[in-house]
Symmetry: C2
Subunit: 361 residues, 2 copies
């Protein structure tokens, strides 16, 4: 057990065994006598690692055969552009559902590149909820429908994914991928920056239905074409070798732990501890999101004043509860309790919340 | 001293003190109690590291004030697209000089995005040389002139950079940045994947004259605009935190070693050892590049037959001289002797070459 509980929203806490094996591989990877940072992305040793990483992820997420897993760079933010560049030809419309900051960012990039329809937005409700199926104004022959599965900043999460018929559903799952079982076959593309539930900043996982990759216009630069990356098994250019190693270690940890069903149980337990602390405070702590849409990954709440919020963050920090400040765009408190976050940390936060409430009511 | 001499072309050898400090920071960064992989890219500790990394690089390369250093993702290959996207409006022409594989890749991407003039090519000479100034057919009002300062695969290097007048000179320096002193003020943009002389795969350094960033059309996605990255100090989205840490450590190592003048002396010494072994073999080893253009970083040569080349690589491998196989597109032998490669390794290769020649002549 470490001294510090790390509530950072991403880059975020990683499992301790992963830190240990990575620290060793930085000195000597797979008995090559070289650091994982020094091995060629075209070496046999790394190739074996890359194949095993994809295979572990495929097993854990039960990814169907007609999908390909890519390990790219640039974060979800590059995907915001890469998706319309590949899949939104002129004359077609892409549907976007706006549930918060990162949805908005995805929409802004897409609007520069093609025709966008906002099929629903919960902006008028200050993003305290996720829209219902009945609210969606979907374009019948849309190029795709884009959602953000978990809103890291706002603290909301899709509990049931929208039905988009034959139109491919694309999801930015940066902040809740691998947190619970998922039916991948319902999606055209799932993408995620690794730095929350999968590894360090610097690698982006894209799970793509292979037929969609073929829709890209020819005049798109190779580096931005999914088809080129599929053909080259994520190594069209030098892939982020060390970050992929870490993802491999996280996948091993997750598999050993019992996979996604077990992970979901643990995540539900952790979230329940913090949300219960919040709900039993008689309104001293106010959840930022309506109950049915509360995220299992990012618990967001407010205190009676911004001064108290600052004091809360400061005192928590002194007790080694780190990274609790809400995002600058919304304020308040945010406790990010991703996969690797320990249950003891959730309990430590709940205890601190009770104590702080008592002394500041 | 390690057992293995790592001649990999990139990802490549890193200094041992860098491996040691990185291995430690993977467990605990700057006494935060968190791994460098777990700290927020918006934390004070990381921000201080980012500022210091830029400041070290600025000091070592003597970068003028009207330039900005960016730490991006996607490798040189994404820059191949990003440069014309930002700097090649319709109606303008970009001049490219073709000196090998990566020049060609840069050209192919640019041709998809705008009007390209091949100002010179040494393809007809099988890329065994770099063009002279008198050969260049430059466009008078070109958007920019693009070169590849060191051709990693072919083993050639620009010794004197072309005079492009008022037209910005842009250089892919992935494989020789920081290998010797450089007058940055002669360039509009210098860019480099870190995985040869600066750090691990996963971070790309872009040194850009700030006024050039303002030329980007508005409808370019934010993530691909240099101006957006400058405004956000490389943190428009989550930057590759851990890779930047490693670059910081490499910069410290390089400064402690005495900077670029000292680095150049060492690199010249290493290269001389290997090229001398080659030139004193009475034609058993044949340099792949004409003498005046030989790279200090990638020594490329041929043996009398492909069978002997395979045997050379295999026997060298058994003596722990690793990564000597030439690129699959050109064959032969390539010894990459980047900044961190030790002089003892160059000597070990020269000794092995003499021995192999003796037993296989």
């Amino acid at each position: 057990m470490r001294d510090v509980f790390n509530f950072n929203p991403g880059p975020a806490i990683l499992p301790e065994p992963v830190l240990e094996s990575t620290s060793k591989a930085i000195l000597n990877f797979a008995n090559t006598g070289m650091s994982i940072m020094e091995v060629s992305h075209r070496s046999k040793d790394f190739d074996a690692l890359l194949i095993e990483t994809e295979s572990l992820l495929t097993e854990i997420l039960n990814i169907p055969e007609n999908y390909k897993v890519l390990f790219l760079q640039g974060g979800a933010s590059l995907q915001f552009a890469q998706i319309p560049i590949n899949l939104l030809p002129s004359g077609k419309t892409a549907d976007y559902i706006d549930t918060g900051n990162f949805s908005k960012n995805a929409i802004k990039e897409a609007q520069k590149l093609g025709n966008v329809n906002i099929a629903a937005s919960t902006k008028d409700d200050k993003y305290t909820r996720i829209p219902e199926q009945s609210e969606l104004k979907l374009t019948p022959d849309a190029a795709y429908v884009h959602i953000t599965s978990n809103n890291t900043i706002e603290g909301s999460q899709w509990k049931t994914f929208p039905d988009t018929g034959n139109v491919p559903l694309i999801a930015d799952m940066s902040s809740d991928i691998l947190s619970k079982p998922l039916d991948v076959s319902k999606f055209g593309i799932i993408y995620a920056g690794a730095q929350k539930n999968m590894g360090p900043a610097g690698v982006t996982i894209v799970i793509i239905r292979k037929d969609l990759a073929d829709l890209c216009p020819e005049n798109v630069p190779n580096i931005l074409q999914y088809a080129v990356q599929i053909k080259n098994n994520s190594c069209y250019n030098t892939c982020p070798v060390t970050s992929i190693f870490v993802v491999h270690e996280v996948m091993k940890w997750l598999k050993d732990l019992g996979g996604l069903k077990e992970m979901e149980k643990i995540n539900e337990k952790k979230a329940a501890i913090v949300y219960d602390a919040l709900d039993s405070s008689n309104g001293f702590y106010k959840g930022a999101v309506q109950k049915p849409y509360r995220s299992l990954m990012n618990v967001t709440f407010r205190l009676p004043s911004e001064e108290l919020e600052a004091e809360f963050v400061s005192q928590a920090g002194k007790k080694n509860l780190k990274g609790l400040k809400g995002h600058r765009s919304v304020g308040g408190i945010r406790a990010s309790i991703y996969n690797a976050f320990p249950i003891e940390g959730a309990q430590a936060l709940a205890d601190f919340m009770a104590e702080f409430e008592k002394s500041h009511k």
